[in-house]
Symmetry: C2
């Protein structure tokens, strides 16, 4: 992309991130509209939860990959929360992955079908692995910036929880415990990450790489919903070996 060489002000840089979210965040994907407004059947919600588990399970690997490249102990000491948020800790937090499995349990999915990831859509796996690889291989600024989709998470989560509770009799508040936690974790994490990226981009070129990283990450999330839509909504082309709902 072409751009001037002038450094964006912190406010303009933040606004540019928010514009990307407004345009590209997966809240705009038709699958989410169907999910939140009660237009999916249980099998389709199962497919969503089963595939999204692949994403959840890889987030700690992604965050550890970021930390493996972060020479600043201050950054590592902040980032480590993300690992305990997902994996739990000895103080008794079960962690986000375990909370996600409460949802798949509630949906009647067998644990091993979920955790083995063998029924996941290939499109899910490709997108998730592309994300881990991006964080492992790109610059640290791009790795941190790619987390900034969390800036936009609270709104979609609030819509999701209220919409799913109102519309699906097979979903309880307990089953959605994962999202309750994310309402506080995501803003804490994204506030830190946004400040860090703004403070560490010294050139316009670095700022543009950071913005591209957020565009890339929006694509990672979007692409996962594409896979679900194609396989489980329309035209309904389920790849051989992928999850097949029992019934509607």
């Amino acid at each position: 992309m072409t751009h001037s060489d002038e450094l964006l002000s912190p406010a303009a840089f933040e606004a540019a991130f928010r514009t990307i979210g407004a345009e590209r965040y997966h809240s705009h994907h038709p699958f989410h509209h169907l999910l939140h407004t009660g237009k999916l059947n249980k099998g389709q919600v199962q497919a969503w939860a089963l595939n999204r588990y692949v994403y959840q399970a890889h987030i700690p690997l992604k965050d550890a990959a970021l930390m493996s490249r972060a020479h600043d102990p201050v950054l590592r000491r902040e980032w480590i929360h993300r690992l305990t948020d997902h994996d739990g800790d000895e103080a008794g937090d079960e962690g986000g992955i375990a909370r996600w499995l409460r949802l798949t349990d509630a949906l009647g999915l067998a644990r091993d079908d979920v955790t083995s990831m063998r029924l996941a859509h290939p499109g899910t796996i490709f997108a998730v692995e592309a994300y881990v690889r991006f964080v492992r291989e790109r610059s640290l600024i791009e790795a941190v910036a790619s987390s900034l989709t969390e800036l936009f998470a609270p709104t979609i989560i609030a819509d999701r929880v209220s919409g799913m509770l109102a519309n699906y009799d097979f979903i309880s508040r307990e089953a959605l415990a994962y999202f309750g936690k994310r309402m506080t974790q995501a803003p804490r994490d994204s506030t830190f990450a946004l400040k860090w990226v703004i403070a560490h981009c010294r050139t316009r070129a670095e700022q543009e790489l950071a913005l591209d990283a957020l565009r890339f990450k929006c694509g990672v999330l979007w692409s996962q919903l594409d896979a679900l839509y194609i396989a489980y909504v329309a035209p309904g082309i389920i790849p051989p070996g992928a999850f097949r709902p029992d019934a509607a």
Copy 2:
């Protein structure tokens, strides 16, 4: 190396690790004998502390790299202690890196000369980077097994602390706080890692890879002392740009 295809029993496998340590651990390096018996001058101890900082500073990156490849949350939840041990935590532990800097402070080294790593011996840097790369690229079993030098750490640490306190008037117990912590951390970590490696090697070939990983790691530690010996003991060839002690 040639070997039978027969799986080693847990006891024989553990004994094989301990034999490698007995033969190859850097406790046998002449530099350590000089260090612990008071035969080094302050400048040589400075060179040791400054170069060893490079190793300390990379350990959390190595551990995060390992976690970025560990799909098992149980392994990650155990391994994460290593990050907080080195980086500190919000509960108030300053962490091992900060404790190492107390030693370099006590030795009169400027913080930036240490943390910038620009005065480190190239041999130190190559060995440390080889270790991080090994953990990033080899199998998870090899990555975990390469940590098992910690099985042999308590003895060398006890010798080091008592020997340095007895022999160097420029070293206080406070300056050696790093080692006090490691006396409890290293056994906890190595006990877990040893059990994990024994439980996860399903074939003799995997066991042999794990043993080779420990041999490799012994080489990483040994090689760092070689660099110190050549530059600061005999023949005293200090690479251009590397740390030069002011005086003896």
